[in-house]
């Protein structure tokens, strides 16, 4: 699928802040997440892909605002001090948030839209700096022809429109223009940090990754019983 013009990416989304209806805590920026008493919900970065997008969005937002690597890591450290629950997956985190816990949930924009379409009392904010979540599609090389045909269908205008209606940003430009998805002022991708191959080891290695070290240092400092 890498060969097609979309590099195998089927839909896009962005990391967003999901908040209670009306945004009572007025959370608009990444710095707002660090306000005293703000409770953040994000899944566990070692079991959830969604959590990894969240972490890279937070990190990247700092870098794009001109912070150094050390300052960006320090931001992550402070952010994790506000995290009150770390569910296993992004969908679990959404359930926890809609169940009443936390002031803000870091999640895919499409999860927020899904929640709203299901009638949950949430709003979402797209921060000025955030990461483009690219959702790929793949077929196995020895799969049946119907699989390849299905993927071809997924790139058709009709399918892309359905994605758009369900909260995903279509990649086919003509369809994307039919929707009014907000474009953040600073949108970056995982490529800016070397792609997932590099990031996975640098940030999410369970022993030596940056995030693993943050969790250890938080644990040691808060391990008072």
């Amino acid at each position: 699928m890498n060969q097609n013009e979309y590099k195998g990416i089927l839909t896009d989304s962005v990391v967003s802040f999901v908040v209670r209806k009306g945004n009572p805590d007025d959370i608009q920026t990444w710095d707002d997440l660090l306000k005293p008493g703000v409770e953040v919900v994000t899944p566990n970065p070692f079991t959830s892909g969604g959590a990894r997008w969240n972490v890279m969005a937070a990190y990247g937002a700092q870098i794009k605002q001109g912070k150094s690597k050390e300052e960006a890591v320090a931001y992550l450290n402070e952010l994790f001090q506000h995290v009150v629950v770390q569910d296993a997956s992004a969908r679990d985190a959404l359930q926890t948030f809609t169940g009443g816990k936390g002031d803000v949930l870091l999640s895919y924009e499409n999860e927020a839209i899904t929640a709203q379409q299901k009638g949950e009392n949430v709003d979402y904010v797209i921060p000025d700096q955030t990461i483009l979540i690219e959702n790929p599609v793949a077929v196995t090389t020895d799969g049946p022809q119907s699989a390849t045909d299905f993927v071809k269908f997924l790139y058709s205008d009709e399918a892309q429109k359905i994605f758009g209606e369900k909260g995903y940003r279509p990649v086919v430009k003509s369809v994307a223009d039919q929707f009014d998805y907000e474009t953040p002022s600073t949108l970056f991708t995982i490529q800016d940090f070397g792609g997932w191959g590099t990031v996975k080891d640098e940030f999410f290695d369970p022993e030596n990754g940056i995030v693993a070290k943050i969790e250890v240092s938080l644990g040691v400092s808060t391990d008072s019983g």
């Binding site: 070692f46 995290v83 629950v85 770390q86 169940g99 009443g100 022993e207 250890v216 644990g219 040691v220």
Partner: protein
Amino acid sequence: MIGYLSFIVLIPLAAVIWKSTGSGLEGFWNAVTSPAALASLKLTFGASVVVALVNAVMGTLIAWVLVRDDFPGKGLVNSLIDLPFALPTIVAGLTLLALYGPRGPIGINIAYTRMAIVAALLFVTLPFVVRSVQPVVHELDREMEEAAASLGAGGFTIFRRVILPNLVPAILSGVALAFARAVGEFGAVILISGNIPFKTQVASVQIFSNIESDRPTAAAALSVVLLVFSFLTLLAIDLVRRWGSKHES
């Protein structure tokens, strides 16, 4: 019989131990002494000890009341004691979250804290001490108590020196089971614990986490630690029980 035991218990246990050696002895040691693993083991055992002790007292009390007292609805309460056995643990977790979580109806919100973990464990271990002690209370020879009273012993002395020694083996047996069950509990805890490493992540959930992040060797290593400790606990309690029954006059 050996074949059945092997198939259901022994072979799977051996397989877990085998799997945990996948990265060699050093890998095993690293996996179980990593800061996160040690923290989760501390939390798991700590919470289980607390739960076992609470059960020792409350379980005995409940068993006593169920046998010796009479009150309307006693039959129903007696049946309810077994509810934690009948309920799927994930349902227990869901119920606790609905009752004592952020949208709970009674205004108590302890979800995602260590207290929530203890509450969940107390629920699932409720029947063990009660059911262990109940038959013993039932069989107690009242004449002993009456004799002690006629000799001038007060209520507390009768309890301490006549009744309690007879109950201790059953209490210990129930406590051991409650402890072992609490150490391994997963379903009731996973929804309500919050899963923050170093704060509210218990060993069983961390094992699951390891499997989900494609680290089966670390998961097996942690599992072996839990197995060994549970086994040692059961062994120790059994020895204490045998010592106790040898010294019975």
